[in-house]
């Protein structure tokens, strides 16, 4: 996937520099530890999709499209619609991404985003039944990475809930009545932290991510509930660190949520 040698050398000097800055309480791009990069959400970027959001989180750019089509329900949930999440780490977005079927990074990303949406019951799947046991609406959340500059989890999680909140069920296209807004009940937001040395920073950029020893993503909703967590990388966290990270994610998630909902309101007016 990449040249581990040259990476190693660059990482070493980066690591030193980033740690020196951390001692002074700051970061390579001047942020403080809990500061998220500038976030810009462009709703409805792809008009052919039923919902979409172009998310720019610092230099990271992802496009989430939502397609909604009729399909068969799962046998064990005949009275619920279906949601499914897919992520494409297309090689356009990074020299480290390779063409081909989703690798373990893409699968983990899609599943973490999916869990945040699913476990918070963000979509009211019971409103997506066309004919019980026969036909329901299937919501496809498709994540397309455009420019990978760190912290895909948050950019994609934000894009997913924004695109869903923006989506219209295209009932009329299938002669199934009037179009209606996709019913969204909750607004889960993932916040990711990277552990660098003894410091833990929110929304790591690519440099930080590349030298981090451990990563923790916490997805929380507007009621302050925790819906999903995912620890990654080969380092560890102490229990205390995890507790602090959860608390910080509740605060930061709340700020980001305003951004998502604010933009949506603009879009609706």
């Amino acid at each position: 996937m990449s040249n581990k040698f040259s990476e190693g050398v660059v990482a070493e000097s980066k690591r030193d520099y980033i740690k020196k800055l951390a001692l002074k309480g700051t970061r390579i791009d001047g942020r403080n530890f809990d500061e998220v990069r500038p976030l810009k959400i462009t709703m409805g970027f792809v008009t052919r999709a039923e919902g979409s959001a172009l998310v720019e989180l610092g230099d990271t750019r992802v496009l989430v499209g939502v397609k909604i089509e009729p399909g068969q329900p799962f046998p064990d949930t005949p009275n619920m619609g279906i949601m499914t999440t897919n992520a494409e780490l297309v090689p356009l977005a990074s020299p480290t991404f390779e063409p081909g079927p989703p690798g373990e990074e893409a699968v983990e990303l899609a599943r973490v985003v999916d869990r945040g949406i699913r476990e918070s019951h963000a979509i009211d799947l019971e409103k997506l039944v066309i004919e019980e046991g026969e036909k329901v609406w299937v919501v496809f959340i498709d994540i397309h990475i455009l420019d990978y500059n760190g912290n895909l989890f948050d950019a994609c999680g934000i894009g997913a809930i924004a695109a869903l909140n923006n989506a219209i069920v295209p009932a009329s296209r299938y002669n199934l009545g009037d179009d209606f807004k996709l019913p969204v009940l909750h607004y889960p937001v993932p916040v990711t932290f990277a552990k660098i040395g003894e410091w833990i920073v929110a929304d790591p950029n690519l440099d930080e991510e590349s030298i981090a020893s451990a990563r923790l993503t916490v997805t929380t909703n507007e009621e302050g509930m925790i819906n999903a967590m995912q620890k990654g990388l080969r380092g560890t966290f102490t229990y205390d660190e995890v507790k602090k990270v959860i608390n910080r994610s509740l605060n930061i998630g709340q700020q980001i949520r305003k951004n998502i909902l604010g933009d949506t309101d603009d879009e609706k007016n």
């Binding site: 970027f45 052919r48 897919n86 297309v90 090689p91 397309h144 455009l146 500059n149």
Partner: protein
């Protein structure tokens, strides 16, 4: 091509369903240097098409048996986002995108001074974010901007454009309805300096006269599109806004 419809695609005034004249292009908007990670990149909006392209390289070709000892290998990959079309497309390459990737690779190879970089590869990625007919020619138009943005030496900046036949009339730059219900489509890519043809495909049903009329139209339009490419590249170095 050739699906049946009762829709009239050319009205009594000779205008098309989107109000264009037969030889009129859709609105086009270009931008270069839009991505941070890529060595070169460009974005194009062309009618309802939204396409982003990136270039990586030249760098040592991998795996080694893909290396050409005499020149750079250009590998274009045309890909449609699953949400780019009305009916969701399954992610991953289908036969159409495999073919398009091949002819686009060949067309781009024709302008690159590849012998300057033996044993290397140059990757060109064309991601169709929203599709509205003519994605391959819009993609190749943007890809050549991305190549220029990456500093790849080229003997010309390729322009792609299509023409076709709709309700018996030869028209420039088909939109989605014209593509679905029209009688022929001729996608083409030209080296504007010499008029050489680097990509040419055609499907449908045309007489020799219709076909050459379509190719004439493309040749004419290519000049305008090329000027936009040049302006876009210039404006980047002057720090201007997007070219529309």
């Amino acid at each position: 091509m050739g699906m049946k419809t009762d829709m009239r695609l050319i009205d009594d005034n000779g205008l098309r369903i989107d109000g264009r004249l037969p030889n009129q292009l859709r609105p086009i908007k270009m931008q270069v240097g839009v991505l941070k990670r890529a060595d070169g990149s460009a974005y194009i909006e062309w009618g309802g098409n939204k396409i982003i392209t990136a270039v990586y390289g030249p760098h040592e070709a991998y795996p080694k048996h893909m290396q050409d000892p005499n020149r750079a290998v250009v590998r274009a990959r045309y890909n449609m986002a699953s949400f780019s079309v009305d009916e969701r497309k399954r992610p991953g390459p289908d036969r159409r995108s495999v073919e398009l990737s091949k002819v686009i690779s060949e067309a781009l190879t024709s302008v690159i001074f590849g012998d300057k970089f033996p044993r290397t590869s140059i990757e060109v990625y064309i991601e169709v974010l929203q599709a509205d007919a003519g994605t391959r020619v819009a993609g190749i138009t943007a890809a050549s901007l991305a190549l220029a943005d990456a500093g790849i030496p080229m003997r010309d900046i390729i322009v792609g454009c299509a023409a076709g036949k709709v309700d018996g009339v030869v028209v420039l730059d088909l939109n989605k309805e014209e593509d679905n219900y029209g009688e022929a489509d001729v996608p083409m890519a030209i080296l504007p300096r010499t008029g050489e043809i680097a990509l040419l495909q055609m499907d449908g049903n045309m007489t020799y006269e219709e076909l050459t009329a379509a190719m004439d139209m493309i040749t004419e339009a290519a000049k305008k599109i090329h000027q936009m490419q040049v302006d876009t590249l210039k404006s980047k170095y002057r720090g201007d806004e997007d070219v529309e």
